[in-house]
């Protein structure tokens, strides 16, 4: 290059450097357009390279409508598994998730985050029971279930385990063992992250969800 274009280049570089130092947010905003890096999240663990697309699945929600992959597009969804006859873990998880959702102040974030409770106890958790259970915590939450074969398509994809402890046919009070983590499904309907609910981390999770929603 000749001398004058060298000078021009140097001047432009200097101006760019000054702009970036004075307006650092603009520079980092360019970076934020890509996936939010795991280091910036406080409570949610992202799967990173292990992020994987969910397969086709079909459940029935508590409004008796079909719940399939298509409803997850464009949303950040929190999904966890349990059953309504669960006295301790499920109500505690639902409570904490309720508080997280209440802590989302940005209406755009509120609109983008959806909560799903999948019952792994189709024997007892019929739509009417799921409806009253969800309405008790938050009427915007969606409960869903299906027969074991359909459930397994989704639980296998998310690495969720469950075990129905039925002792005998017609046993009304069996317990169900189930994974306790909350799965995070991204707007591309991929299993993208997970978290364990902790009442002390409500604000942290709300901030993480806000970062994730705003990062796209």
């Amino acid at each position: 290059m000749n001398r004058s274009s060298n000078t021009l280049f140097a001047v432009l570089a200097l101006i760019a450097g000054l702009l970036i130092s004075v307006y650092p947010d603009q520079a980092s905003a360019v970076q934020a357009k890509s996936q939010t890096s795991p280091a910036e999240l406080e409570a949610i663990t992202m799967l990173g390279a292990d992020t994987r697309a969910l397969p086709e699945f079909e459940l029935i929600d508590h409004h008796s409508k079909t719940l399939d992959r298509s409803r997850f597009k464009g949303k950040w969804s929190l999904m966890f598994f349990g059953y309504t006859s669960c006295p301790d873990v499920c109500p505690t998880t639902l409570n904490t998730i309720s508080h997280v959702v209440s802590a989302l102040h940005d209406p755009r974030v509120q609109d983008t985050v959806k909560v799903y409770f999948v019952s792994v106890d189709p024997g007892r958790d019929k739509p009417e029971l799921l409806a009253s259970y969800m309405n008790y915590f938050n009427p915007d939450f969606i409960a869903a279930t299906s027969d074991v074969n359909n459930l397994d398509i989704l639980t296998d994809a998310l690495g969720v385990s469950y075990r129905i402890g039925k002792k005998a046919e017609g046993d009304p009070s069996y317990t169900v063992d189930h994974s306790g983590f909350v799965a995070l499904i991204n707007p591309d309907v991929e299993f993208a992250g997970l978290l364990f609910t902790d009442p002390a981390q409500v604000q942290a999770v709300a901030r993480d969800l806000t970062r994730l929603v705003n990062g796209r």
């Binding site: 309504t84 006859s85 006295p87 301790d88 109500p91 029971l129 259970y133 008790y136 306790g180």
Partner: protein, 135 residues
């Protein structure tokens, strides 16, 4: 006579167990369609002897059992705790995600109400506590 009285006085602390000190006794409310509730409390044994709770009952519940939420094979499960033992001077806390009472209600629970629950100890002694229903 005096010797007998003296002997009885020295034996007295051994004959009866101290009473458990119980705080923050509460039941988490759930809609009437749900057949279970969880009960929680903080227990302190102020005495010098081990105290064990062997049975829990209430007129408002058909059955009450102590369970512990544990993680096994990657799953949350409830393990039945038939006898809850509190060492002398120790505290045992029943709280969400851990030890809890699994209770089967006979009628809907209402936030704000107080429900009497009876604890039976290994020596036959009993204590009745008031559990408040919280949202």
């Amino acid at each position: 006579m005096r010797r007998i009285i003296l002997l009885m006085l020295t034996l007295f602390p051994v004959i009866t167990l101290a009473e458990l000190q119980i705080d923050n006794a509460w039941i988490k409310n759930l809609p009437p369609t749900v057949p279970v509730r969880a009960g929680y409390m903080e227990i302190h044994n102020p005495g010098t002897e081990v105290i064990s709770i062997v049975s829990v009952s209430s007129e408002a519940f058909s059955s009450i059992d102590v369970h512990e939420t544990v993680m096994k094979d990657g799953m949350m499960r409830m393990e039945h705790v038939p006898v809850l033992t509190i060492q002398p001077g120790a505290r045992v806390t029943l709280e969400p995600g851990g030890l809890h009472m699994m209770m089967h209600p006979l009628k809907p629970t209402i936030v704000g109400e107080s429900i009497p629950v009876k604890l039976e100890m290994n020596d036959g002694s009993q204590q009745t506590l008031s559990f408040s229903v919280r949202p």
